[in-house]
């Protein structure tokens, strides 16, 4: 009986809802999407095969993996879902959950299931997840009315994948909205999520604000990282269960789009791998030949270049020959010894120049770090790792990527640093913090066989700063040195190189760190002079050849016409 009246209630409700949606307004609540009971059995099967490992037997977000994940798996019991189109605090629509399952949540362990499960399985598992919600009820049409928001449409009509072409005036207007609503208090002065180190989610677990300069890690990016809609939706609906509020009433829809344009303008355009939703790493770090001396100053114009791929957005004319920023993907060292399951850094940007006159190579290493260490015992650190005996390696051979092995040593240039006058709770400081840097050089014969070099240290950090959530360290070393385990850096040769990083705030040290795989670097030579004289010479030679061809052809013609020669005759 109750089931029947429920059904009638729902029918009336949906009828009303449809009638009201016809009026262009979103103030009227509609019923949440109820649970389709007939799909629960399939859903349970899918859930217990695919989802239970993280989300747990009762959906409490406490599966076996949960304690080793930063950004823990969702706890379904309270019915708190982050990525929705409904008002802040409300239950999500079924379509929202389906999109989450299909696209995954980028930057977390939740993968995209769209290509793995059938549509029926996805809808079923969503029903099962809804049935795991205990504190709220998707079938309660009276108390759980939801308001699907109207987000308007993209005012600039930009298209994917990169959504370029938003007028600068609108981006600037978006920045005003950003300042006025104090988004920097959590997201930091330049949006790297470095505003507030004390945030907790509804369950008391630590949580950090999104880094806008890595939009491919937005949970709600829906595998469409550069789409401003994602930002508009999050700003409008807030993220339930987190400190992210909604700005539906404070900011008009038009201004939310402008804010989204500003937020998106901070995210460098990189080619995104559709399988992993991460930028494709730049596996070859090109060190640019520099006339005269290289400037040892990070702010010098010769070191300026955007993170954006120059093939997607060309560099401005005045810096077009500057070295590009190479993207290095980082992950926790989860292979040997004390493993690091929750690294705080997953990107590293490397720019390099070298000079023959200087006889030195410079590597500017940058990475995003929300909060620095304030503990001298655990400073932050970053290191460049090289094969120490490059000349002994044959073919593709390299030392083991985690600090070398017993036969093939590595040369590690490590910079330990602490920011001066820094406190993680400080307001954004546009000038950044000076770093107190201490350089160490190690020989690695394995992660547990690391020793300080006996020879004199030749690596210098010539400039460094921590500014708005970005660490910048410029290494310098002579191409050739005396030390037995110093890498000798040849020009025009591919040299293996990799990167290590330690977050002091997480008490990372030794092999408990972030790591990249082996990359290559090459010191590019100066452009050959023949580049400027050979093309005209070849063109002139070709003109002469053309002249000869025309002359010959005309002469042959003339000979035919004068009857001195016969045209080719058909064989009889």
């Amino acid at each position: 009986m109750t089931k029947n009246t429920n059904y009638i209630k729902r029918l009336i409700f949906s009828f009303l809802a449809v009638a009201l949606i016809a009026i262009p307004t979103s103030v009227f609540a509609v019923a949440p999407d109820g649970i389709k009971k007939d799909m629960l059995e399939t859903g349970k099967k899918v859930y217990f095969k695919r989802c239970v490992w993280c989300h747990g037997v009762e959906g409490g977000g406490d599966g076996p993996s949960a304690d080793r994940l930063f950004t823990r798996p969702r706890n379904f019991i309270q019915g708190t879902f982050k990525i929705r189109t409904t008002d802040s605090g409300e239950l999500p629509m079924e379509a929202d959950l389906i999109k989450t399952v299909k696209n995954g949540l980028q930057g977390s362990a939740m993968p995209a299931w769209g290509e793995f499960l059938s549509d029926n399985e996805i809808v079923s598992v969503v029903q099962f997840v809804k049935s795991l919600v205990q504190d709220r009820d998707f079938n309660d049409i009276e108390d759980e009315g939801v308001t699907v928001q109207d987000f308007g449409t993209n005012p600039w009509g930009t298209t994917g994948p990169y959504h370029l072409g938003v007028p600068q005036a609108d981006i600037d207007a978006g920045k005003e909205v950003f300042l006025k609503n104090k988004c920097f208090e959590c997201h930091g002065g330049e949006g790297r999520g470095d505003g507030n180190p004390t945030m907790k989610d509804d369950w008391g677990f630590p949580i950090v604000a999104a880094d806008w300069t890595q939009c491919w890690n937005f949970r709600g990016s829906r595998r469409d990282a550069f789409n401003p809609f994602n930002v508009v939706r999050t700003v409008s609906t807030g993220l339930n269960g987190t400190p992210m509020p909604n700005f539906k009433d404070q900011v008009t829809v038009e201004d939310r789009w402008k804010l989204a344009a500003f937020v998106n303008s901070l995210c460098p355009r990189k080619n995104i791998d559709p399988l992993t939703s991460k930028p494709i790493p730049d596996f070859l770090i090109q060190s640019v030949y520099t006339e005269g001396q290289v400037s040892p100053n990070i702010d010098d114009p010769s070191w300026q270049s955007p993170d954006t791929d120059s093939r997607i957005v060309a560099f401005p004319e005045e810096i077009k020959d500057n070295p590009k920023r190479h993207y290095i993907a980082m992950a926790g060292q989860i292979t040997r010894g004390k493993r690091n399951f929750d690294p705080k850094t997953d990107d590293l940007w490397v720019t390099s120049r070298w000079s023959a006159e200087d006889n030195a190579v410079y590597y500017l290493v940058e990475y995003h770090l929300r909060f620095m260490s304030q503990d001298p015992e655990y400073p932050d650190a970053v290191a460049i790792q090289w094969p120490a005996k490059l000349q002994d390696l044959f073919g593709a051979e390299k030392p083991y990527f985690i600090m070398g092995d017993s036969k093939k040593p590595v040369d590690i240039w490590k910079a330990n640093f602490l920011a001066q006058d820094y406190n993680a709770t400080n307001a954004p400081k546009p000038d950044g913090y000076k770093l107190k840097v201490d350089v160490e050089e190690f020989v690695g014969l394995g992660f547990d066989a690391l020793s300080a070099k006996e020879s004199e240290g030749k690596v210098q950090v010539v400039d460094s700063i921590y500014k708005q959530g970005r660490v910048k360290i410029m290494f310098k070393r002579d191409l050739k040195t005396e030390g037995e385990f110093d890498v000798q850096i040849p020009t025009e040769k591919f040299i293996p190189v990799s990167f290590l990083q330690w977050a002091g705030r997480d008490k990372e040290k030794d092999e408990h760190m972030s790591i990249s795989t082996w990359y290559y670097t090459i010191l590019k030579p100066a452009l050959p002079a023949s580049l400027y004289y050979m093309p005209p010479i070849m063109a002139v030679v070709f003109v002469c050849f053309q002249g000869w061809l025309v002359w010959m052809t005309k002469r042959t013609r003339k000979m035919y016409d004068e009857g001195k020669m016969k045209r080719d005759e058909l064989p009889k």
């Binding site: 217990f48 993996s65 990527f401 050959p528």
Partner: protein, 321 residues
């Protein structure tokens, strides 16, 4: 209207329409006997021939040669699948160009006809074409020279062996296992009997699901970072490492290997690989450092249960523990 021009339009417009409208129809996800790219190409060629015959266009031989050459280019560039590397493409196109030349020079008549527009351009009877050709080509030569001289660097290509030859025995936690005759001690039953069972819920009811649950727990505490929640090698750290982590869904990995082989690979990890498998870059831990023998076997059992593959076995003996 000039018949040659009509023929040219038939080719160009036809190609545009076919490529943009009809080609997608012939390249569905599930390739069939009719709906495939090669049938599409044959239909396009048939369309060209039939249209030209019906309209009695008889394009000049130079234009026919252009069509033939263009068809070859189109085939190698867009139709042939999987796509071929550009060096091979250049080789094929050289062969195809020679073939086209043989076609036009099949008899002196066609060859003379073929030469006619070229000669007329050279001697200046087609004044406009001559000016364009004589100025454009040196510029192209200049650019080509510039591009050849301009230094460009690509990262070196590295080849590696995916499934290295296994040793005869492997020693894990002090015990030696002969790879040929070792079976998974936790494979206590046929895995297909448990397709409709639930980990955790049925772990108390039957032994097999208990081991799967334990194996899955280990997997999701240790392995999913690289091998992924879907066991497809796309875990949250997978993009960082090179070589990329193994995809167990793929029929080329655990589906074609013995459990003992996997036991060896899991226990010894990257550092246990021979040189041809580039052990220095593999992020696979030697799991004997983190897990005990039983845990390793249970993870392997879980991987087969989750993916639905069966381990490869030799001989007729069952896989009782």
């Amino acid at each position: 209207m000039n018949k040659g021009l009509i023929s040219f339009l038939v080719f160009v417009v036809g190609l545009a329409v076919f490529h943009n409208a009809i080609f997608p129809i012939f390249t569905p996800k599930e390739i069939g006997w009719v709906l495939n790219r090669y049938v599409y190409f044959l239909i396009f060629v048939a369309y060209l021939i039939i249209t030209n015959l019906i309209l009695r266009l008889k394009p000049p031989i130079a234009m026919t040669a252009l069509f033939v050459w263009g068809l070859g280019f189109y085939f190698y560039k867009f139709i042939l699948y999987p796509p071929i590397p550009w060096t091979l493409f250049i080789t094929y196109m050289v062969m195809w160009s020679i073939g086209t030349f043989l076609f036009v020079s099949q008899d002196p008549e066609t060859f003379r006809e073929f030469r006619k527009p070229i000669v007329k351009t050279i001697v200046g009877e087609y004044k406009f074409a001559q000016i364009i050709a004589l100025t454009a080509m040196p510029i192209l030569v200049g650019f080509a020279t510039y591009n050849t001289i301009y230094p460009s660097y690509q990262e070196p290509v590295e080849l590696r062996t995916v499934h290295p030859a296994p040793p005869a025995t492997t020693k894990v936690h002090g015990k030696t296992y002969p790879l040929e005759s070792t079976n998974n001690p936790f494979r206590v039953d046929e895995q297909d009997n448990y397709k409709d069972s639930f980990p955790f819920l049925d772990a108390d009811k039957n032994e097999y699901m208990k081991y799967v649950t334990e194996g899955g727990t280990i997997f999701f505490q240790n392995c999913h970072y690289c091998h992924g929640d879907q066991l497809n090698g796309l875990g949250m750290f997978s993009h960082v490492f090179n070589p990329t982590p193994a995809n167990f869904i793929d029929p080329g990995t655990i589906a074609m290997l013995q459990e003992a082989f996997i036991f060896w690979r899991v226990s010894k990890g990257g550092p246990g690989l021979p040189n041809e498998s580039t052990p220095w870059s593999s992020a696979m831990p030697p799991w004997e450092e983190h897990l005990n023998t039983e845990e390793i076997w249970k993870v392997i059992l879980f991987e087969y249960w989750y993916t639905g593959w069966h381990p490869r076995t030799f001989g007729t003996e069952g896989s009782e523990g």
